[in-house]
């Protein structure tokens, strides 16, 4: 029991003892004058009183030592608090880093997927350049340098080119019965001329059925042929002066 008693409780207990002993001693002394009480008992009380006083003094010294230790304990607690703050700060930084890394990992995953996709469908550089010329010849923001009045080429998509696009071909779907999905640039380049012809033929049939648009379609067919010729010429011309469109694209 005494091992677990705090120094404060011990001191208070000693003070209580001291108070009781002193009271008893004084009472004995006042009573002793009237009825001669045992002197030895008073002596014993006095000795106990002095012993308790000494014990109080000794316990106070222990308390003094404990106060010094308490100071050290408080210092350690302060230090721990500082370290805790650092740990919290570091935890915050780690969380931020985790977020950044997770984003980077996600982007890297996407990049890897596109790399794998690209390696499964390789496109030759020749096809790519051909297609680039084709785009720059028909969809450039300005006319080619060699353009002259009467040239069929336009800097915007022509009627035929619009019909070749997905929007134009949407109307052909019920007639075709299947969806044409060119895979990759190479296929698109290769299939473009075929689509030209298919589209013009299909349009011919379709527009024949309506009847009144027959003439317009006829001119369209002629246009297509001219256009395909133009395109092949364009490729030749553009490959000789590869300045304007490609350089502007790369920028």
């Amino acid at each position: 029991m005494s091992a677990n008693t705090s120094t404060r409780d011990k001191l208070l207990g000693l003070l209580d003892d001291f108070e009781l002993l002193s009271r008893e001693l004084i009472e004995n002394l006042s009573a002793g004058r009237q009825q001669k009480i045992n002197v030895q008992h008073q002596l014993l009380l006095t000795e106990q009183l002095v012993a308790t006083d000494n014990e109080i003094k000794a316990t106070l010294k222990v308390a003094e030592h404990q106060a010094e230790v308490e100071k050290k304990v408080n210092d350690i607690k302060e230090e721990i608090e500082t370290q805790d703050q650092h740990i919290t700060q570091m935890q915050k930084h780690f969380k931020e880093a985790e977020n950044i890394l997770a984003t980077a990992l996600f982007q890297a995953k996407q990049k890897l997927q596109s790399i794998n996709k690209a390696s499964k469908h390789p496109v030759s550089s020749e096809d790519l350049i051909k297609y680039a010329h084709r785009i720059s010849a028909s969809n450039a923001v300005c006319a080619p340098l060699t353009w002259q009045p009467g040239d069929a080429r336009r800097p915007y998509p022509t009627d035929i080119e619009m019909r070749m696009g997905y929007l134009g071909r949407l109307s052909d779907l019920p007639l075709n019965g299947h969806i044409m999905q060119p895979q990759g640039l190479a296929d698109m380049v290769r299939s473009n001329n075929q689509i030209d012809r298919q589209a013009s033929q299909q349009n011919q049939f379709a527009w024949h059925s309506t009847g009144d648009m027959h003439l317009g379609v006829g001119s369209g067919v002629i246009d297509t042929r001219n256009h395909s010729k133009d395109v092949s010429e364009d490729v030749e011309v553009m490959s000789t002066d590869s300045s304007s469109s490609s350089s502007s694209d790369s920028q």
Partner: protein, 130 residues
Amino acid sequence: MENTITVNDVDTDFLPLIHDIIKSGERENHEPQKSAQEISQKIQDLQKKIDQARSDIHKLPGIQYNSEQQLKAMKDLRQSLQMKRQLLLKYRHMYSFDIFDHKERKAKGVPLPITNKELKSRTGVKGFKP
């Protein structure tokens, strides 16, 4: 902590007071009335002094536990502080991106970089060959 006081502030010199009271009692035969007043006054003073000491003891710091318990608590706190310091040191120097040599890494206690296999098992991402 504004109420804390030191041990030197606690007055526990009760014995001189008791001695005075006994002395006054011995003089009672000569001047009984005066002596009785004196004694009762001194007894009151003694009581006040004991009460004051009691309230001062309540304000003394660090005596809410005994010496052994206090030392044990300090030891535990020191250990905790040491652990936290080590933890911080470990994570501050956990990864150094500029040490490529595995032997040097091992010598300095720097963990090895993650392998492609580990990367794939943790994230599902196929790693690159450097």
